[in-house]
């Protein structure tokens, strides 16, 4: 199909600020195609270098607690039930019953229809976007494939927000992106962002999932990251967790570099969320190092960095117990959720 490049795009403020008021498919494409390329070998070797940092003793203690504070504790299964969500929330509020000093996670992440159950289970612990407590994040826009009409995606989003979701994890239309219809992807993100608007005029936080495993090249990841930020994303997120490869260190490093570029350009801080495949403390610490050495450690706070994970939490708890007690316990000393 041919793409009409002269149609004006939705007037997203960031895009207008950067590209100008004559925002069209063509001007957007020119901007995205003009980005500096990514050398895959160099990117991967930098990530491998960051992964060799040795985080010990006091640094490790701080890192483990920080990882817990940055986790979006996630359950995204077709078999999820209200009972499963209740159990997940209990775990989020009190990750290690044997140690009350254990911090809470940042959010629980569920499918849209289970948002009300999550909110109910959290009760007074529900942060609702506030500084303390736990947020509820919902995946929306026909997650994970994104294959639905815009109307369905918007309804999906609005319903989750109405049910009390504080954060929306949307997926981009990878098919449209790969066929070069950047304007369509852009318009959809802008529209979903608008659907995140609550009755009182405030917005649920929008995380835009690029599904980097389907974008195939690092150049595409860089373009998609810029596209999502220009359209209004609060967070850019690597993956749904349903496609392999999910989050990798090089991809996350690249997205952090884009966030750094945006910060240098505008002074505005965008969040990054690697999701899927981060299962061990050791792995998660490598991500902390990468964040701290790329954009700075002020990014290691819940509104700027998250881990999308489920099994990661228990490994961090085991490591934490080892540091407290001096010996390794085992899987039976941490709770399943």
């Amino acid at each position: 199909m041919t793409i009409d490049q002269s149609v004006a795009l939705a007037p997203a403020s960031r895009a207008i600020q950067l590209i100008g008021t004559d925002l069209t498919e063509k001007s957007l494409k020119l901007h995205l195609d003009g980005l500096s390329g990514v050398d895959a070998v160099g990117l991967e070797s930098r990530a491998a270098g960051l992964a060799t940092r040795s985080i010990k003793t006091t640094s490790k203690v701080w890192a483990l607690d920080t990882i817990i504070r940055l986790i979006d504790l996630t359950t995204l299964e077709g078999a999820d039930t209200p009972g499963k969500v209740q159990s997940l929330v209990a775990k989020a509020m009190n990750p290690d019953p044997s140690d009350p000093t254990t911090p809470r996670v940042a959010a629980v992440c569920v499918y849209g229809d289970l948002v009300a159950d999550a909110v109910a289970a959290l009760g007074s612990t529900h942060a609702a976007g506030g500084p303390t407590g736990i947020n509820v994040a919902a995946v929306a826009t026909a997650f994970p494939s994104g294959r639905a009409s815009l109307a369905v995606k918007l309804a999906d989003t609005a319903e989750a927000v109405a049910a009390g979701a504080d954060e929306i994890d949307m997926v981009i239309d990878r098919g449209a992106f790969l066929s070069g219809r950047y304007g369509l992807v852009f318009e959809q993100i802008v529209a979903v962002k608008e659907a995140c608007r609550r009755a009182d005029g405030s917005y649920a936080h929008l995380k835009v999932i690029l599904e980097t495993g389907e974008l195939n090249t690092y150049d595409n990841v860089r373009r998609a990251s810029w596209l999502a930020i220009l359209a209004g994303a609060d967070f850019i997120k690597t993956s749904t967790g349903k496609v392999q490869p999910a989050a990798t260190l090089p991809v996350t490093l690249l997205m952090l570099q884009v966030v750094n570029d945006w910060y240098r350009l505008t002074g505005e801080k965008i969040g990054v969320k690697p999701a899927g495949g981060i299962r061990s403390s050791k792995d998660a610490i490598r991500y902390l190092v990468t964040v701290a050495e790329t954009v700075g450690e002020e990014w290691l706070v819940p509104h700027l960095f998250r881990f999308g994970a489920s099994s990661l939490l228990n490994d961090v708890l085991l490591q934490r117990q080892k540091i407290t007690t001096g010996h390794y316990s085992g899987p039976d000393y941490v709770t399943i959720d």
Binding site: G37, V38, D39, V41, S59, R264, E297
Partner: protein, 507 residues
């Protein structure tokens, strides 16, 4: 506490089994030298590590005689297949003792453990594995049928990559069937002496490799020894020139790998984040103690400010300190003398009008340290743009067109290496073709592989090390040997062309 002030993560020294003193390794055993012993120190805190024997002329005689005996009686008669077995064994032992060698290297040299552990020692093993494979395939090295070994090789190596330079020298020499007398640098003898223990462990026949320690006079006695057939030197251009003079007119075959002042050229279409990494790796790897370091950054004028901004942000995350800490990026300068040279040249840079910027780093009280430094507003006539500083000091120059970049890159007496950063393949190939440098890296820098030849143009030396080409430095061509036999002895008259001589013989 800030997370980025990572808690100390030092590699333990307990893996080392250091002796209080080390002798010379001659004829398969350690023995005391006849010169005045010296102490090798750790440049990070100036603490003594061990006492090292000093070889005088008589020790060199003994070592060369041992190498000659081993050549005549054992090594030159051994099949390539069997020589290869010894080299494979050495490579495996290096791998087994990787941690120990890495700790020794960082302790004695001052380089960060992450480099000695992840770069130096793995490459040492790779070099021995690579040339082990060649030992029984010399007929296929492109040097004609049955190329001949040369005899005894005298090898003198520098202090910047002590063990790696040893491997670059010893592995091809042994694969080609030569025996060796090697002198490590006086500030970094430790890893070579531990390597000597590995040779004992590998049961390498006595005298095939001899390691003699000492300073410049020891090296001079070695390369000038009359019974040496081959001289291989890596180090400064000044010493290289002296060696070239002293070996001129002798039958000694000579290869020199000397200084450099490499241009690292960044075009405006370069992959920016990776180019920044490449600039950092190009000049701050191993504290800039790299002959092929990218010490002249040539950056396209329209991206100069952005590159400098990003570079400074990146440099502020580099961690300088204890070489044995696994998170250290920049270690200690190898010696007081080298530190003085870096300081002097940097001061000259300021006097000449260049603008100096130094990363904020806490400098330890003891030891030899120099924080990463960038000079901007550098002109091609400045000494910091022409002379090899051999330290963590980058001179930044600009260019407007590819032709100007090429002209500036080639405007140096050296020609060891160069780097090109661009997303455009045709530009990389076009520019690489016109650079007068032995190694040209594209979108990377300071990458080494045993299969790739390495060496320079002009004052950076001659001969190639590594790859198939590296064998040529230690072999006499099979064709050459044939043609020499066919020539009649030259008696005071100009040598006749080979073809004419053959014609005469057939008549």
């Amino acid at each position: 506490m800030s997370f980025l002030e990572y808690a100390p993560a030092p590699e333990s020294k307990s893996i080392l089994h250091l002796k209080k003193s080390y002798g010379l390794f001659i004829d398969g055993e350690f023995r005391d030298g006849h010169g005045t012993p010296f102490t090798t120190i750790s440049p990070a805190d100036e603490s003594p590590i061990a006492k090292i024997s000093n070889a005088n002329a008589s020790d060199i005689d003994t070592a060369v005689a041992a190498a000659r005996r081993a050549y005549d009686k054992v090594w030159s008669r051994m099949s390539g297949k069997d020589r290869g077995k010894y080299l494979f064994r050495i490579a495996r032992l290096v791998q087994e003792r990787t941690r120990e060698l890495a700790v020794a290297e960082s302790l004695d040299n001052g380089k960060p453990i992450k480099e000695s552990r992840d770069v130096d020692v793995p490459l040492v093993a790779a070099w021995f594995f690579y040339y082990a494979g060649w030992a029984d395939k010399l007929d296929h090295a492109g040097l004609g049928p049955a190329p001949k070994s040369l005899g005894v090789a005298a090898q003198v190596i520098p202090w910047n990559f002590p063990l790696l330079m040893l491997a670059w020298k010893i592995a091809p020499a042994l694969a080609a069937g030569n025996t060796v007398v090697l002198k490590p640098a006086e500030t970094t003898p430790l890893s070579a002496l531990i390597f000597a223990e590995i040779l004992q462990q590998a049961d390498l026949p006595a005298g095939v490799v001899n390691i003699v320690t000492g300073a410049g006079d020891t090296g001079s006695a070695l390369v000038n020894h009359p019974d040496v057939n081959k001289v291989a030197f890596t180090g400064s251009t000044a010493v290289g020139r002296a060696i070239a003079k002293s070996t001129a007119g002798t039958a000694k075959k000579l290869t020199l790998e000397l200084g450099g002042k490499a241009a690292n050229i960044v075009f405006d279409d370069a992959p920016m984040d990776q180019a920044i990494e490449g600039i950092v790796n190009g000049i701050f790897f191993n504290q800039g103690h790299v002959c092929c370091a990218g010490s002249r950054l040539l950056v396209q004028e329209n991206i100069h400010d952005e590159v400098l901004d990003r570079l400074k942000q990146r440099l502020s995350t580099l961690r300088m300190g204890d070489p044995l800490d696994k998170n250290t990026d920049i270690g200690a300068i190898n010696s007081k003398a080298q530190l003085e040279r870096i300081r002097t040249l940097s001061d000259i840079g300021e006097e000449e009008g260049a603008t100096r910027w130094t990363a904020e780093c806490a400098i330890p009280d003891k030891g030899f340290w120099f924080a990463p430094t960038i000079f901007t507003n550098v002109e091609t006539s400045h000494r910091i743009a022409r002379e090899e500083i051999f330290g963590p000091v980058l001179s930044v120059l600009t260019f407007r067109t590819p032709a100007e970049a090429i002209a500036k890159a080639n405007n140096t007496p050296y020609g060891l290496s160069a780097g090109i950063w661009s997303d455009k393949g045709s530009r990389i190939l076009g520019v690489a073709d016109k650079l007068k440098a032995g190694v040209v890296w594209a979108n990377t820098f300071n990458r080494f592989d045993p299969a790739s030849p390495f060496g320079g143009y002009k004052e950076s030396g001659y001969g190639r090390e590594g790859g198939r080409h590296g064998l040529g430095a230690y072999l006499q061509s099979g064709w050459h040997a044939e043609s020499q036999r066919a020539l009649p002895p030259a008696v005071g008259s100009p040598a006749k062309p080979v073809r004419a001589a053959k014609k005469g013989a057939s008549k």
